[in-house]
Symmetry: C2
Subunit: 483 residues, 2 copies
């Protein structure tokens, strides 16, 4: 399949998305409704996301561990808000080893409970704190309206869980991880994000505060792409996570949790994709350079493939992820379209004339047509290719930034908000109350995205009032259509 | 905790094992019976195992992907032997999203079925073959007698699944992966293994043939440490995996599957451990070198810690995994015992006299006492440490080989077998029949481990007869107590 079949983005964004995911071989639906099969190309993208995050977690002192998939139902029920939030989404194991279980087990929807239990065993003294743990795992949440990568019944993610001696330290950890997510999004995924606090209604079930990174997709919808929760002492109290402090007093710990999932892949697709399909940021792309050898006569074939093989080895040795498309019976033009659709940042064409001249043609995915093409000396490739990949990475980020910034608008009143959220994100002074948010959602389909940190240095700034309901504002908030 | 509490291996091997797993902070039981929490030190060991295997899989053309955790019950039932083997071990999800499901879902015990389904969608022509896929995942099998790492209700593993155009190619893949497992075991885990074919009774439910690597533990029991299955066309027929061959004829594919799990960690513990605790092979050890700074007076402290910091940085830059044990209020002697129990291959002691002399003391975990200690110039460490780690790696392998070889014995008859399996592995010409194996198991507790490949070049060699029942022998087979 080539890109012939991708529905144009401008025509139907939703169909474009599904086409791209399936035709680029990223993922497909599984036999169980709402579940997903992540295909090799999609999984390699996930491996690169995982490695880039994992490096950051380890560099900040976190250790990976693994906790069980199956959680006693009674654990979920111990934290009141937690069970209220997750009960409707649970998958429940009632039979094991041919027998009905005495207590049903839940397939983890998230692991605060079972990790809370473990922390209560591991922590006894202030010397055991801070405890900084991360887990790479699958989780299951019963989704009624599944979308590949964005909302699937099962998804892959990392969930960090930490315990601290003081509220301040736990709050600092919550913000540290939010910054790490933002850094990852901007510098690896080339997606500019807005860091902010979620409203009471949008926060994690059981958290005191939830912070998120929010990204703008090409249809101007928002995607919550990572969350960091300050859990206060809620789970510490539910699971008895206590420690003796330096004065030998028994205290509850303060905990956090934070996660990024395969949803990030959906974000990368929708933040960068264009009419032709995917555009992958070079730092995460499974294939950074695809080489298309071109020949007509058989005697040209050997010379071209020899040159291609040598170039490939040199680039691989230089740390570049290269794929040679040597499929037979398929035209170069078809291959060009195919790899453009699959979002490979850089295409290299090598034909008999290039072999003779010691050159290759490079074509950038981010600059269409002639402007993105250049002829490069073969001996310069190990320097030129990494440099070009960096340029593409930066260009994707600056394009996404420009697009995002041109679609953020301040709304003076509810009427302006209504108009803006049809085509962008609206910023308003906002009360943060459930009733007001519910009304906006019902009337405009836009939801409260976050109170952006950089616009909310003060609480209730300048005594402002909510642009929609007139009550005192908690601060400035973005509203937008969202996934 | 120090090593004070480890039950001596010679006194009670089973308690020694549990003590080591828990005191070395590798893993612990979870609230759900039979489930396990893999703690950071154990998980880092698993990450190193994973990376070493993953490199080998990718180098041989395999791609990672991810398939769903939840499998329709009807899938499991499609292959007759498969359902018979796995039905008693299934965990079953009957409720999701607050409702009873129309069809119960099984938490994957292994993924031949759902991957078979996917392969039937992905494969249409001989050009799609071979299809070489691997998955890193968790699986659940209802275990009645759990042991940490060895048999847990949930475990982590990789499962390779491949499809081929011919039986020969699938058989070659089966053997290729068996070789990769053996290579990994010997060259990374320092565990010599016997490669062999499992008997009819011991093979995977649904396979035509199962091959395994079998390792000897320090109590002379066997541990099946990895398996590679030739599945014939069994799953291809159950899941309709068909392709058009070069003559445009529709044919069933031939498939394989192969897996290594967190059980390998149990193997590493029991193949190398001694009275004092763990001995980890340097290539997989989370910590290769632990540095214990030693000082008495405060003015010595700064000089020692400065030197230690510098040495650590140099070793990390040289690619060595280093940990500095700068805990206060704990004696050096306690730390030595603790890290010996935790199996760190090399200990470095740095005291005021070392700082003055520009030396350090290195102590090898594999050579106890004075013989394993040496004084090394600080400027030679980046060369000396990697060399010593290699020596330790080789020594662990040769010790394990010697131990294994001295406990393999040929048995001329059943009486000899009975005596041998109390203290080793017995090799006999064997019929391979269910009745005979059941009798041996009942009377001696020893099970058929495998028909070792290197002793079974011919089928029914030299017209031998089973040493136990007298029927024609399929070949030579090992019998041993096993996990």
């Amino acid at each position: 399949m080539g890109s012939q079949g991708v529905t144009p983005q401008s025509q139907d964004f939703s169909r474009w998305y599904t086409d791209v995911v399936r035709m680029a071989d990223l993922a497909d639906y599984a036999p169980v409704r709402g579940c997903m099969i992540i295909k090799p190309y999609g999984y390699e993208l996930w491996e690169n996301i995982r490695d880039a995050l994992d490096r950051r977690f380890k560099a900040t002192g976190h250790k990976n561990a693994y906790f069980p998939l199956l959680i006693p139902m009674s654990f979920i029920q111990r934290e009141a808000e937690h069970v209220e939030g997750f009960a409707p989404e649970l998958a429940v194991v009632t039979h094991g080893g041919g027998k009905e279980l005495e207590e049903p087990l839940v397939v983890r929807p998230t692991s605060e409970t079972v990790i809370g239990y473990a922390f209560s065993q591991w922590i006894s003294s202030y010397r055991d704190l801070p405890l900084l743990i991360n887990q790479w795992a699958n989780v299951v949440r019963w989704e009624l309206r599944p979308r590949l990568f964005l909302r699937t019944l099962e998804f892959l993610w990392q969930e960090g869980h930490t315990a601290h001696a003081t509220a301040e330290e736990a709050q600092a950890e919550t913000m540290r991880m939010l910054e790490i997510y933002a850094d990852f999004a901007e510098n690896e995924a080339a997606i500019p994000v807005i860091k902010g606090r979620k409203s009471e209604q949008e926060k994690f079930a059981g958290a005191e505060e939830t912070y998120a990174i929010e990204a703008m997709m090409r249809n101007k919808w928002a995607l919550q792409s990572g969350t960091s929760h300050f859990l206060g002492q809620n789970f510490a109290k539910a699971f008895d996570i206590k420690f003796l402090d330096e004065q030998n007093e028994l205290r509850y710990a303060w905990t956090t949790s934070w996660g990024v999932s395969t949803r990030m892949i959906g974000g990368i697709i929708m933040a960068h994709g264009d009419e032709k399909g995917l555009r992958l940021p070079p730092r995460l792309a499974p294939i950074q350079v695809v080489i298309v050898p071109i020949w007509k006569r058989d005697e040209e074939r050997t010379a071209v493939l020899d040159t291609v093989g040598r170039i490939k080895d040199e680039l691989v040795a230089a740390g570049v992820r290269v794929h040679v498309d040597d499929r037979v019976g398929i035209t170069p033009g078809f291959k060009f379209n195919d790899w453009e659709m699959r979002g490979v940042p850089l295409r290299m064409e090598v034909g008999p004339r290039d072999v003779a001249a010691g050159t290759v043609v490079l074509a950038r995915r981010d600059i269409p047509g002639r402007d993105g093409k250049s002829s490069v000396q073969q001996q310069e490739l190990t320097a030129a290719v990494p440099r070009l990949l960096e340029e593409i990475q930066e260009n994707l980020l600056s394009q996404a930034k420009e697009f995002r910034d041109s679609n953020l608008h301040e709304a003076k009143d509810y009427e302006e908000l209504k108009a803006i959220v049809k085509e962008g994100w609206a910023l308003i002074p906002h009360c943060g109350e459930a009733e007001c948010e519910a009304r906006i959602k019902e009337e405009t389909k836009a939801t409260s995205r976050c109170f952006p940190l950089e616009l909310n240095q003060e609480w209730n700034p300048k005594g402002l009032r909510c642009a929609v309901c007139g009550k005192p504002a908690q601060g400035y908030a973005y509203f937008a259509r969202a996934y």
